[in-house]
Symmetry: C2
């Protein structure tokens, strides 16, 4: 039997911790026998939550951490000062090699800062991007970068494109994934200074399938497999997904019960519609991996459901078993020797 | 009787010109007796289209322009070389004061370049932003800037905020409209360099109701009335609206007819749902005004429908009758004397 994939879970992170995180860990253990979970946080609190469930005890360990980093704390400061927080203790498990991966629904800022400072980047990686999968009409695309590094430079975007390609090919099984750069028009001469500088660099990359610019309107249709952009733009794209989707679905639901006639119709379409909307539910796709680190860091929404946290934990299996980091390292090494 | 508002329409611009543009002009004349339309383009072609309709002939004039700027032409070059194009001729009607406003579904680039070069900016205006109305759960918000000026500076964004406020208050009737800057978090210290520099400047503006950062996810819910951002981000927001909305509606429709049961339900909910989706149809809101120019320029989608072009023409009435430009000029003058 292959070695178990060891995943550290920030039991205290997120709006509904530790209830959601502990339940998700139990669910993940039941869903796969290829993982071992390390629940990091206040031991007594975790034990209390765990007492509600039965689970394979040999594949779950509690690692005590007495402090909690709150959502609103200034990230860099929190990481530096709260050495006994669940985030810091869990990340150190990855750094030391005791764990392969780490999952948190806690403060985005603290996780992003902590990942760079504590887990550390792979050799040659300048910035570690946050890269969520987003639902499209065709399946999913990878949106890279989405929150970690504002004001990125062209060379960073090129690394994002490479890392994103490797992820989509190896984890999502997309053969020769298409890569596009987010732009305000299809032509090479369009764009802001960053995009104009990055475009020719991407064209030169022989190890990715760069297809040019992708306009934001074509992203939900599944225009390209890997959507490259700097973090501010990526954050806007991700949140427009949530915002437009959420508002539209609310309006559609309200519209459906606005007349007596439509209310009856709504009852009949509901089951079929539920399937459709599930496809566009970001929760289904687990959390967002941060790529380019010495170990996998997966960040899920603060308001993540049990399903999302569970899927985030399970996502670590493929990442570790497919040796994604070795592949990223190899791709960047080739680049340096060119 | 007050003087008629005189609107120049680029009859040759857009994917479906001159059919859509000429029909829209006729519809606008029928909808309001406060406007006169100048159809600019190839006289024989326009006459041929017009022969299909009856319309108030005393309020429609044809202005001949022998050339057409195509969608894909390099904008600056096209504006400089094609002096007899419908865009150039129509804009000169505004510059000379023969017309108050101008509407086009033609090349965005050529219109943006032409507006700055030919119509010209108001005194004190550094950049003229493109500011479409976007549908929200509460009504509409103004998204400013959305395509005219990439890589804007903080001072530009402050002017956008002021001009957008004046537009929302006077044209849309929103009392003391709320103004937010698009950001990746709610806190003042978040954001990229541009946002961090702009935030304190907006806080100092006493003539606008600045409420701080707005996250992209809150825009469709109607978080603020005036959404301030630089053009690249604005373009992404606008196109995500179209993209997510379009894809989601397509999926919902497909989901509704996926089973026999849901097909019957779909027939029953259809009329109610149509009303809801109409609210989220960007076409309903006419085109996007470019603010800060010596005259109004309204740019509609290349694929604009008759309704959108008609609404764009009608939009010019309020803008002119409310003396928006005088109000913008006054606001910027106060600023200069502060």
């Amino acid at each position: 039997m292959a070695e178990l994939v060891k995943v550290a879970v920030d039991a205290m992170g997120g709006d509904n911790a530790p209830g959601v995180t502990v339940e998700a860990a139990v669910e993940a253990l039941k869903a796969s026998d290829r993982i071992k979970v390390f629940l990091v946080g206040k031991e007594d609190v975790i034990k209390n939550e765990l007492s509600k469930y039965s689970y394979p005890q040999d594949r779950l360990e509690i690692v005590n951490a007495g402090e909690v980093i709150e959502m609103a704390e200034p990230p860099a400061n929190a990481i530096r000062k709260k050495k006994d927080s669940s985030i810091v203790v869990a990340m150190k498990l990855v750094k030391s090699g005791q764990c392969d991966a780490y999952v948190s629904a806690g403060s985005t800022g603290a996780n992003l800062v902590g990942a760079q400072l504590l887990v550390g980047r792979l050799k040659g990686v300048d910035r570690a991007p946050l890269a969520p999968l987003i639902p499209t009409a065709k399946g999913v695309s990878l949106l890279i970068d989405c929150g970690a590094n504002v004001d990125a430079r062209p060379a960073h975007l090129v690394q994002f494109a490479r890392m994103g390609s490797i992820y989509m090919e190896n984890i999502m099984g997309v053969k020769n994934p298409t890569v596009g750069i987010v732009n305000i028009g299809a032509e090479e001469e369009k764009g802001n200074a960053l995009v104009k500088e990055t475009f020719p660099l991407l064209k030169e990359c022989k190890d990715i399938n760069f297809v040019g610019s992708v306009e934001a309107r074509d992203i939900p249709a599944g225009g390209v497999d890997v959507v490259v952009c700097e973090a501010f733009v990526g954050n806007v794209i991700l949140k427009m997904y949530e915002g437009v989707g959420g508002t539209l679905i609310k309006e559609v639901k309200a519209g459906m019960v606005s007349t007596f006639r439509s209310k009856i119709g709504a009852l009949l379409v509901k089951p079929a519609l539920k399937e459709t909307l599930k496809k566009f539910d970001l929760d289904q796709y687990g959390g967002a991996p941060m790529l380019g680190l010495r170990g996998l860091v997966v960040k899920t929404h603060g308001s993540a459901s049990v399903t999302e946290v569970k899927n985030s934990i399970l996502q670590c299996i493929g990442f570790t078993e497919q040796h994604i980091n070795d592949k990223i390292q190899a791709a960047l090494d080739i680049d340096e020797n060119q």
